[in-house]
């Protein structure tokens, strides 16, 4: 059966970056140099080819873009300066937008105006909710002679809204992940069925890759620094997430605990790690020294910037509370919350969150396929590379 070409597709993907790809002459140097391209996955040339010709279904069914960690070696090697690494990035953005049937992903990636309006809209929500709450209950409830944050932002109300927000975002993310699974697992041969056992048996690899993103380390030692920074960022991020989503009632308190109390050191650890990692990323993008940072797009700056703003405003809330300044504390808290809601709304489904889910999912699905094709796979979780 023949596949129809759609040459307009790469012009579409070019809106997500990687517009040098027409220069590619399919020599395959990029695939040869890529330390992640193994026998089961021939990239980046293969996906570049799908993209050039506009074989949209093939591209949607390709997990390969998610197996690339943007070390940039292929772009350094390419004789035509076609920037394969950036193309892989563009494909990830495009795929993310394609998995997202709401159309939000596409808008955020392709229009800076959409990014600004989304941020503004999202930031407006906590402000509006807080104003509405106090308008109903009366502004005089707010304690102003000392710091009592919970009179300004009652923790149970906040928590309830956070949970609602996360449920909404989580639903979206799940749906997008489901679309990804459907595309990748769509059988070429309708008869071929993937047994459920394969899905179950590979869950371990999903967990491992989700937590460690360990495949990145196969890019070579010189990228270990990036991987470590990333791992720190994830640890801080996850701790914060657990504290805010799962334990906000315990975390947002007007008691000042002693320093050895977990509420304090967990918060400090997460904050410091997030500041370090996000600053490192921003500096990298600013200097554009490594390949991965050469072609930053607005959405790439967004996440580390928000993290940095979130961490700094978080520290300031803490500091102002120590100093016993009620209004600065409340104001900073509001800013902190507005920034974090804006971050979540503009990031979930398109940015780093998506990567965190899609990457391990792609490896997992590859392993599931492998297991089905070849029952003799020696060890669960081992994606064969080189």
């Amino acid at each position: 059966m023949s596949t129809r070409v759609h040459p307009e597709l790469h012009r579409d993907i070019a809106r997500f970056g990687g517009d040098d790809i027409t220069k590619c002459m399919n020599c395959g140097n990029c695939t040869a140099v890529c330390s992640l391209a193994g026998d089961g996955a021939v990239f980046p040339r293969k996906t570049i080819r799908y993209m050039q010709l506009g074989l949209k279904d093939k591209l949607l069914a390709s997990p390969e873009p998610w197996l690339c960690y943007y070390c940039g070696e292929c772009s350094d090697t390419c004789p035509r300066d076609a920037n394969p690494a950036e193309t892989m990035m563009a494909m990830r953005r495009w795929l993310t937008a394609e998995y997202d049937h709401s159309g939000r992903g596409r808008r955020l990636y392709t229009s800076e105006k959409a990014v600004v309006t989304t941020i503004l809209k999202a930031a407006f929500i906590p402000l509006a909710l807080l104003l509405a709450l106090h308008a109903v209950t009366g502004f005089q409830r707010i304690v102003t002679d000392r710091v009592e944050l919970n009179t300004f932002a009652p923790v149970m109300w906040v928590w309830a809204v956070v949970l609602l927000h996360f449920a909404f975002l989580g639903y979206h993310l799940m749906m997008n992940a489901l679309h990804m699974i459907q595309h990748i697992m769509k059988p070429e041969d309708p008869e071929a069925k993937v047994p459920w056992a394969a899905y179950l048996l590979e869950l371990k690899s999903l967990a491992i890759h989700f937590i460690t993103q360990k495949r990145w380390r196969e890019c070579g030692e010189e990228h270990d620094g990036q991987w470590l920074t990333h791992l720190l960022l994830v640890s801080g991020y996850v701790i914060m997430l657990v504290l805010v989503v799962g334990m906000l009632g315990w975390f947002q308190t007007d008691n000042i605990y002693p320093v050895y109390h977990p509420q304090r050191w967990l918060g400090y650890y997460a904050t410091l790690v997030l500041i370090y990692a996000s600053a490192a990323m921003l500096i990298g993008r600013f200097r554009k020294r490594t390949q991965v940072h050469r072609f930053s797009r607005p959405t790439d700056w967004l996440f580390p910037s928000f993290i940095l703003v979130g961490a700094i405003t978080g520290i300031l809330v803490h500091a102002f509370r120590y100093a016993g300044w009620p209004w600065p504390t409340y104001g900073m808290y509001l800013i902190h919350v507005m920034a974090m809601v804006a971050m979540l709304d503009s990031e979930v489904g398109i940015g780093k969150w998506a990567h965190m889910i899609y990457r391990p999912l792609a490896i997992y699905l590859m392993n599931v396929k492998k297991r089905t094709q070849n029952q003799a796979v020696p060890e669960a979780g081992a994606l064969p590379t080189n």
Binding site: S2, R4, H6, T22, C24, M25, V42, H101, R106
Partner: protein, 644 residues
């Protein structure tokens, strides 16, 4: 006094020495290992020194070098050599070199004999060095045997017309004519069609400079027409040719003129390959055209005034298929009407196609361009840049294997009013979430091309096409009359064949004939001009002095022996080279053969049929052959290594 004795040049030249007292120098060349790695040159020298006349015998790494030649010259004066034999490479390479060395030493250049022990011995005898050495010894022995019987000969010198005829007024012919005229020779340019310029006059922009072809051409044509040394005949053709180098006679129709000329440059160009009916849909679908038609279409002065359209419709998708009619393979491709396959690469079409594809993308950015190639052969300076540029401009490349050529067929009729975006539900805004690629997709192309693309892991692709362009190459032009009349030789692929592809690339086998441009092989404009200039320089050098020296290897008739039977006249392939004449001899009228030294090619056909041995080719006389054969079968037991 015996008349023939007194005239024996051998005796004159050698001060009465007999064949067996002559002093002969034998030189065995290593050819930098080419010979000595296989042949034991020491042993060959040793064997030669055992021959009765081997006065000086040496081996040397490179006889053709300055020092190698000086070795011969010094030996001739110090050792009083009468003959020289060099065993080395093919005589077509260095026979002239060593003859010249002998002449510089004050000897007659024809007292030299060349033995080929490279092509005929070391190269073909690598697996059997002993056998090769034995063969070399025998060949050197035969060379010495012939050298004993060599006689001094005088080269033939003749008047030559300082006039050159150029056949074909394409760019190569124009270049040759103009160069010849500037050197000061008179030139007649004969062009079959009504105008000058050949194929180049049809092209608009040409690689690698993106010049306007017709502007370039106009410059050259103006120079040619304005040159008082050049006479141009258009709508004219050579229909009969006779004569020989320096003095050819051409009859040109339809003007009934006769041109007397000293040399001829053939610049008759190429023909475009004409696809067979149904080849990739050619002749079947009006959307299938050839590359030259595309070039015409892109030309603002062409039939569509430079608009890219077919059947009045804009072209959204162009698909170019490379190598149509070139690089054909037995068992895969259909032979042409002449039963022949075009196995060669037409060389210019890859770059010409890439150039045109880039132009389309630049001028019509909404048009998709696909190139289906077997290999991209951008061999020349500035050619690969076209490949780069075409990619950069978004030309899409697919690669097919010769045994799985693309298939062109009509597109399926469109299904319904076909709208965009079934897959994508409305976005949050409630507006239709249009997917740009399907929105723009010009899916109503008349044809589809199916190709198994090796760049996409053998995927079967389906490419929509409003225009399919067959990249047709060059084929040899029909010039049978010229081939017949001038005795031209053609190579297996049908193009005119030069004497030697590397060392004598613009000379034809018949003395005084030169070849320029695409009648020899596919070339682009730069190469055609280079060939035109080279042919001009060669022809001018030949005719510069107004006299021509020819090798004296022709067939004089021994009038004492000839009985005038005329067998030689029947056997001779060259018109009027040998004729029967009637003369008075001792008061009696006798008939005998007479050879025209300018027309005789020294082929020896006459010698083979002459019943009396009266006609023999100088330098290759029968007694010389006899001596060589004797030497070849002589007993060399002492010096030969037996095959253990």
């Amino acid at each position: 006094m015996d008349k023939s004795q007194a005239q024996d040049p051998l005796r004159e030249a050698d001060n009465g020495a007999t064949a067996h007292t002559l002093r002969i120098g034998v030189y065995v060349c290593h050819c930098g290992g080419n010979i000595s790695d296989v042949v034991d040159v020491e042993r060959v020298v040793q064997a030669a020194s055992g021959l009765s006349n081997g006065v000086v015998t040496r081996h040397y790494p490179a006889m053709c070098s300055e020092t190698g030649q000086n070795l011969i010259i010094d030996d001739i004066s110090n050792e009083k050599l009468d003959r020289v034999v060099v065993a080395a490479c093919s005589p077509s390479l260095h026979e002239h070199t060593f003859r010249a060395a002998v002449a510089r030493a004050g000897k007659n250049a024809y007292l030299y004999e060349h033995v080929n022990i490279r092509e005929q011995v070391s190269w073909c005898g690598k697996s059997d060095p002993d056998g090769a050495t034995n063969k070399a010894i025998r060949l050197v022995g035969a060379g010495v045997a012939k050298a004993r019987l060599l006689r001094p000969l005088a080269p033939i010198s003749m008047d030559a017309k300082r006039h050159v005829t150029v056949v074909g007024g394409g760019v190569s012919g124009l270049r040759a004519a103009r160069d010849l005229a500037r050197i000061g020779l008179a030139v007649t340019l004969i062009e079959r069609s009504a105008s000058l310029g050949g194929h180049m006059a049809q092209w608009h922009l040409v690689y690698p400079t993106e010049d306007k072809a017709r502007d370039l051409l106009r410059e050259l044509v103006d120079e040619v027409i304005g040159d008082p040394n050049i006479t141009v005949h258009t709508r004219a053709e050579v229909i009969e040719a006779s004569g020989y180098v320096g003095n050819f006679l051409l009859r040109v129709e339809p003007e009934h003129i006769t041109v007397e000329t000293g040399a001829i440059v053939l610049a008759t160009g190429f023909d475009l390959y004409q696809p067979q009916e149904g080849e990739f849909g050619y002749g079947q679908y009006p959307e299938v055209i050839t590359l030259d038609q595309l070039e015409r279409m892109l030309d603002p002065e062409g039939p569509t005034s430079g608009r890219l359209e077919r059947n009045g419709r804009a072209v959204n998708n162009v698909c170019l298929i490379h190598c149509v009619g070139s690089r054909q393979i037995e068992g895969i491709h259909q032979p042409g009407p002449d039963g022949k396959l075009n196995e060669y690469c037409s060389r210019v079409c890859c770059t010409a196609t890439l150039r045109a594809a880039g132009e389309i993308r630049r001028r019509f950015p909404r048009t998709n361009v696909f190139e289906l190639y077997r290999d991209i052969r951008t061999y020349g300076r500035g050619h690969e840049e076209y490949y780069d540029e075409a990619s950069r401009l978004g030309v899409l490349f697919c690669r097919y294997e010769a045994d799985r050529p693309p298939v062109v067929s009509p597109a399926e009729p469109k299904k319904g009013p076909g709208l965009i975006c079934a897959k994508h539900p409305p976005g949050r805004s409630g507006k239709l979430n249009l997917v740009p690629f399907s929105a723009e997709e010009p899916d109503d192309s008349a044809l589809v091309v199916q190709v198994k693309d090796t760049l996409t892991f053998g995927e079967e692709l389906e490419i929509p096409a409003d225009l399919v362009v067959l990249v047709t190459g060059m084929v040899p032009r029909e010039i049978d009359t010229l081939v017949d009349q001038l005795k031209l030789s053609r190579s297996a692929d049908g193009f005119l064949q030069e004497v030697h592809p590397k060392l004598r690339p613009v000379e034809l086998a018949v003395n005084g004939l030169f070849v320029a441009g695409t009648c020899q092989a596919p070339m682009d404009i730069s190469e055609s001009c280079a060939a035109g200039s080279a042919a001009a320089a060669k022809a001018a050098a030949l005719l510069a002095s107004g006299r021509i020296e020819l090798d004296p290897f022709l067939a004089p008739v021994d009038l004492d022996v000839c009985r005038g039977e005329g067998k030689c006249v029947e056997a001779c392939q060259y018109q009027k080279a040998v004729t029967l004449v009637e003369v008075e001899r001792d008061g009696r009228k006798v008939r005998h053969a007479e050879v025209n030294s300018a027309l005789c090619n020294g082929c020896g056909m006459c010698t083979a049929v002459c019943p009396t041995g009266a006609i023999q080719v100088e330098g290759w006389r029968l007694d010389q052959f006899d001596a060589m054969v004797d030497a070849l079968v002589a007993d060399y037991a002492e010096t030969e290594v037996s095959h253990a």
